[in-house]
């Protein structure tokens, strides 16, 4: 089975984010595999181990992305394609066009991606890739099985579980709970530094840089407001409940 994983490197959201000139300051930031994509990598490797096949990781990003690629290779992915080209760094339209162009001429049975990236959280790219390739997609998958020529997926549907089947080839996006990503093994780490990474430029993909240029732009990035100190409500249970409802209505306006 040929499995393709779409993977993005993101900054570690557990770390402190510093904004500088309207962007996240990259200096001193830890970069990791987007956690949802890590589930995708794990699922691909698990399926390969069970069914045989080749796992290819595809990513778009600057040179620093190599670390994420090598980590995926160390976990057990076989091959990697890295689009390191300014023309590919745009918005969701750009990236999905590039990914689809990379994937389209390759043999694939299954494409797995993260449900969203934890940095900008658009949740669009993978689904757009499926549309561009003309294959079905199942998003936010928490369980995946291959059954002959089709997949059976459980997906997270607003708290309920939906069971969806689709014929191969298909694109699925991984949701938390799909699996527990493995640690890269020491042998994997050592082998990973020797595995080749194919570098591809936008022009080589037969794409017109202008046609895929970003259609949206980020106007401003702001950090969430600092969390204020908590307040302890006083009085008996009834009074506290009333005070709480009043606060939720008037101050935080969530009701």
């Amino acid at each position: 089975m040929n499995i393709i994983v779409c993977m993005k490197q993101t900054f570690d959201t557990e770390a402190r984010i510093v904004l500088e000139n309207g962007a996240v300051k990259e200096d001193g930031v830890q970069f990791i595999i987007n956690p949802y994509d890590e589930y995708a990598v794990e699922e691909a490797i698990k399926l390969k181990e069970a069914e045989g096949g080749v796992v290819t990781v595809v990513t778009v990003g600057p040179a620093r992305v190599e670390e994420a690629i090598r980590t995926a290779l160390a976990m057990g992915a076989d091959e990697a394609i890295h689009v390191e080209d300014e023309a590919a760094f745009g918005d969701e339209v750009t990236v999905s066009e590039v990914l689809a162009a990379v994937i389209k001429d390759r043999p694939y049975d299954l494409i797995i991606a993260g449900n969203q990236a934890v940095d900008d959280g658009s949740g669009q790219v993978a689904v757009r890739v499926a549309e561009l390739l003309g294959v079905p997609h199942i998003s936010t998958v928490t369980k995946l099985e291959i059954n002959g020529g089709e997949v059976v997926a459980e997906r997270d549907a607003e708290g309920d579980t939906e069971i969806v089947t689709a014929p191969l080839p298909v694109l699925v996006t991984a949701q938390q709970g799909l699996n527990e990503p493995r640690y890269p093994s020491l042998i994997g780490i050592r082998k990973a530094s020797k595995k080749p990474i194919a570098k591809v430029a936008v022009a080589e993909l037969g794409l017109d840089a202008l046609a895929i240029a970003r259609r949206s732009s980020v106007v401003e990035i702001v950090l969430p407001a600092a969390k204020g100190a908590g307040r302890v409500l006083e009085g008996d249970t009834g009074a506290r409940a009333q005070a709480l409802v009043r606060e939720l209505r008037q101050t935080s306006k969530v009701l």
Partner: protein, 389 residues
């Protein structure tokens, strides 16, 4: 000069860091509770399961030669790994390790001592220090007298790490009084079954070393490690191997502690302001950060020199002296920043405070490190400007 880790080193670092974060840190409260109730921090079964999990991804015998199934990562990767492991006080190691001097075993001895130690089925201890000889280890008094095909061992060892648990001891004893430290000390591999006893020595730390007592213990002559009269060289080789590991551990623990202090200083307010806004607190944080960074590089250089096949003894002494003292200063400041909370057993700071004190004592005291460093310089073995010229 490039101070970056290689991608491979970085992945090793990241993997160990994640292992520590996901597998070990969640056990910290259990470890504190166990220790406070007088049990080992990690029960043997939990330790075994954790080591098994690590071994499944190849983190086992990370500095053991490949011919013994190890990964033989080298000193730099080892230093990085120790820094990561020391971010928690959970008493864990990857296993698959044997004391460096056990590689001096004969082929027959390897089967009985080296390989079972690597495989974790037997435990060793290193018994050099005596009640009457610590810093001046060459002055040991334990004796071994040849009687037929056996050596008869008498004497007492003290402060022996793992001495209560060990299955065998590497014991150093005088075999030729005339020659003394110059060819008169021999190392013996002495199984507990041969008749030595151990007694727990209570310390301020969470693990206790032992006193070992040898009374007419008869050791077969095939249990000499290395050659007769070659013991002190082996002892120095053992001590040298661990020297830069102490500051490496100091870096990891100190970084964790400093992060705790920074976090606490941000949130703890007095007189209406976070204590992080007070210069008195800021200076403690700044000094700690500078000293941690200095230790990191002095230590990585010692490890790097070992990988390059250079003589790193001077560098390792500097790393050990500076790192041991850095750790003690940092943990003291971190405790101070936490105020009364720092002194309680609610937080692990006091545990680290007690544990780190021994860094300045074992593997050569502060004073002995200074003596070595100064002697190297005064005698001209090492020049002050030896490296960057």
């Amino acid at each position: 000069m490039d101070f970056r880790l290689s991608l491979e080193e970085k992945m090793i670092q990241r993997t160990v860091r994640n292992f520590v974060k996901n597998e070990l840190m969640p056990l910290e409260q259990d470890v504190l509770r166990n220790e406070r109730e007088g049990r080992p921090g990690l029960d043997p079964e939990t330790l075994r399961v954790l080591q098994h999990k690590a071994k499944a991804i190849g983190f086992w015998g990370i500095n053991t030669p490949e011919e013994y199934g190890g990964a033989n990562l080298g000193s730099l990767a080892m230093a990085i790994t120790l820094m990561e492991l020391a971010r928690t006080f959970v008493p864990f190691d990857f296993g698959g390790y044997a004391d460096n001097i056990l590689y001096a075993c004969t082929d027959e001895q390897k089967q009985r001592y080296l390989i079972p130690t690597i495989e974790g089925t037997r435990r060793s201890c290193f018994a050099l220090t005596e009640p009457g000889a610590g810093s001046d280890a060459a002055n040991i008094r334990a004796t071994a007298v040849k009687d037929g095909r056996e050596w008869v061992l008498n004497g007492e060892k003290i402060f022996i790490t793992n001495g209560n648990e060990a299955d065998f001891a590497m014991v150093f004893a005088v075999t030729d009084k005339e020659k003394g430290p110059r060819g008169g000390i021999t190392c013996f591999l002495v199984d507990r079954e041969l008749g030595w006893r151990s007694e727990r020595v209570r310390t301020m730390g969470e693990w206790d070393p032992a006193a070992l007592i040898f009374e007419d213990v008869r050791v077969p002559e095939e249990n000499v490690l290395g050659e007769v009269g070659y013991g002190l060289e082996l002892a120095m080789r053992w001590i040298g191997a661990a020297r830069w590991a102490i500051p490496a551990r100091a870096v990891g623990s100190a970084e964790r502690l400093l992060n705790m202090a920074i976090e606490y200083a941000r949130t703890r307010t007095t007189f209406g302001e976070p204590i992080a806004d007070r210069q008195a607190i800021q200076w403690m944080i700044a000094d700690s950060a500078v000293e941690i960074d200095a230790t990191k590089w002095i230590t990585l250089k010692a490890a790097w020199m070992a990988d390059e096949g250079m003589d790193n003894r001077h560098q390792a002494s500097m790393a050990k002296l500076y790192g041991a003292n850095m750790a003690n200063r940092v943990v003291d400041r971190v405790l101070q920043i936490h105020g009364g909370m720092g002194y309680t057993k609610e937080l692990p700071i006091e545990r680290w405070y007690r544990e780190m004190r021994v860094f300045r004592i074992f593997d050569g005291t502060d004073e002995i490190q200074r003596h070595i460093i100064a002697r190297n310089l005064i005698k001209g073995h090492v020049r002050v400007d030896d490296f960057l010229d």
